[in-house]
């Protein structure tokens, strides 16, 4: 180590190791960095520490039995992997989901999206050095965890959705509790904006850092908030209209480059914080409309034996963007092949290309602004 510290030559590069247990790398994730002092020449991500071969496990489980494993694809937003697997199987077998179950899916997913974004924006602020927003964000997330626990019994790995529907209906009085919370939450997000999003220091720190243009974002397959942060107005909920999202009114926030170029770290942060408000609006509408549909109509008509043949690719708008599931059935109880396409995986791919010229501290901001979750990269 002493060699490195006392070297003064300007042209000398050093190789640094960041991770796998660095607190700002969002899970077990490692970077090998070649840097010239504070400026990065190249940062090579080394992933795979959390690889659990979810896809191989899928080939050995029955279709309904695979559902709990999908929770582990992305444990910060497990509801979406559940939904993605369920919709893939439904598409493969042509099952229709009852309206009430679809509303419950929307409600559970939007709650989960807020919880996940709370982690994302809170942790991003903390990575940059602001501790208070993280506490605020986690406080709200705690309410959501309690709601989801009441709904399905689990706080993190939900296993709530089923092929053809969902597992439980809302408990009595649950809808009112969530409504009361959402009514408080939406104005609270504006307070949160005053605390951190439009904070002068925060803007100075993040504006014009690691700019990704819309064209680059599409080319590298960025999805979800990362894509919208680059100014591409694309949301599966709006543009694909899956599930019952067409029943609700909500806006799709995109990065506009208010304080710098379009697609900088601040834009990605801004998109997430705005999305929380929109999710709140969807929740309000869904909770008001859900009782139009009969109770206990939770699972659609399933075939007696789940042994589908053929293939299907389905996708949902997860908290980390477009999550896809490709499933091939060969007339057996187990799928022949199942594959998850996740947002964090493609977001990691761009880091090696984007890192040259960044400051070492800005790499932390870049990783945090992508909101990568290590298990989703590695699966």
């Amino acid at each position: 180590m002493s060699d490195v510290i006392f070297t003064n030559e300007m042209d000398e590069e050093m190789t640094l190791n960041m991770g796998p247990h660095h607190p700002s790398t969002h899970g077990v994730l490692r970077f090998i960095i070649q840097s010239d002092g504070e400026i990065i020449r190249k940062a090579v991500p080394d992933v795979g520490y959390l690889h659990r071969s979810i896809e191989k496990i899928g080939e050995r489980c029955t279709y309904p039995g695979y559902m709990p494993y999908t929770d582990r694809v992305d444990y910060v937003a497990a509801m979406f992997a559940n939904e993605c697997w369920a919709t893939a199987c439904e598409k493969l077998m042509g099952i229709e989901v009852p309206k009430r179950a679809q509303y419950l899916r929307v409600i559970s997913c939007e709650l989960n999206r807020i919880a996940s974004h709370m982690i994302a924006i809170g942790a991003m602020a903390m990575d940059i050095g602001a501790t208070t927003p993280f506490m605020w964000a986690l406080r709200e997330r705690e309410y959501i965890n309690d709601f989801i626990e009441e709904l399905c019994g689990a706080r993190l790995t939900y296993n709530y959705h089923r092929i053809g529907g969902v597992s439980f209906d809302m408990p009595k009085g649950w809808a009112d509790k969530v409504k009361t919370w959402v009514d408080k939450f939406v104005p609270l997000m504006e307070e949160f904006d005053r605390l951190i999003t439009y904070n002068e220091i925060y803007i100075q720190r993040l504006a014009n850092v690691a700019i990704i243009t819309g064209k680059e974002a599409k080319d590298w397959g960025l999805v979800g908030p990362n894509l919208r942060g680059s100014g591409v107005k694309w949301d599966l909920r709006k543009d694909d209209g899956y599930s019952v999202y067409s029943d609700f009114e909500f806006a799709v926030p995109v990065g506009k480059g208010q304080f710098g170029a379009v697609g900088d770290c601040w834009d990605r942060f801004y998109v997430r914080s705005e999305e929380c408000k929109e999710s709140g609006k969807i929740l309000q509408q869904a909770l008001a409309k859900i009782d139009e549909h009969p109770e206990d109509d939770l699972v659609g008509k399933l075939p007696k034996k789940i042994k589908p043949e053929g293939e299907a690719y389905s996708r949902v708008e997860s908290a980390r963007g477009d999550m896809g599931c490709y499933v091939i059935g060969k007339g057996a109880e187990e799928p022949y092949r199942c594959r998850f396409r996740t947002g964090s995986f493609t977001a990691m791919g761009i880091i090696e290309a984007k890192s040259p010229g960044l400051f070492l501290a800005d790499l932390v901001a870049l990783i945090a602004s992508f909101d990568v979750v290590a298990p989703e990269i590695d699966r």
Binding site: G48, E55, G324, G349
Partner: protein, 190 residues
């Protein structure tokens, strides 16, 4: 544009030897697909991306599937167009013994990591790829786990990959009936 219209368009442009075998049975193939000759895939994809009426700017997913019975490895490409809102599924059939095909890194940058993953887990060689290393598994891992005939080694650098069943470890073995009878008699003797 519907997938079969795209298929016809491509067949006119590249010929029936490059683009063939359309599958669109609504009961089985929920996303219609067709085959592309593996060595022509870069040209076809470049055309799909740059042609204004097709405009496929988003490579969603690269999946490798192993079919040991047919002695094939199939690489599946899911493409989507943000502007035109249409999708297409391409398949390239490779020999299982020697799976190799050109890379698509020059067409979509996102192919870089997805092809590395496919190489890592299925052993497909993407020729021309700038950095074809293992991605998820360690560099010295042997075999490609998503192949159907993959068998896990018993250990990796002395770390066992199989653990004894914990239930077996803590199982209490009850003494046999005769032994317990004798044990019951003994204190009476004393």
């Amino acid at each position: 544009m519907t997938p079969d219209a795209i298929f016809k368009l491509l067949q006119e442009k590249f010929g029936t030897e490059t683009v063939f075998d359309f599958h669109g049975d609504p009961a089985r193939d929920k996303d219609p697909w067709f085959q592309i000759a593996p060595w022509e895939i870069e040209n076809v994809c470049e055309h799909l991306r740059s042609e204004k009426s097709l405009d496929f700017d988003y490579l969603e997913c690269i999946t490798g599937v192993d079919y040991p019975d047919d002695k094939r490895i199939v690489v599946v490409y899911h493409l989507y167009s943000y502007g035109k809102k249409h999708r297409v599924v391409l398949k390239a059939y490779l020999e299982r013994e020697d799976p190799a095909m050109p890379t698509l890194v020059n067409v979509w940058s996102t192919a870089n990591w997805q092809e590395r993953e496919c190489f890592d887990l299925l052993g497909v060689l993407f020729e021309g790829h700038p950095d074809l290393r293992r991605l998820l598994l360690p560099d010295d891992w042997e075999g490609h786990p998503l192949r159907k005939d993959y068998e896990e080694k018993e250990d990796y650098h002395g770390i066992p990959t199989i653990r004894p069943n914990p239930i077996e470890l803590f199982k209490i073995t009850l003494p046999s009936k005769e032994a317990s009878k004798e044990a019951a008699k003994e204190p009476a003797k004393a």
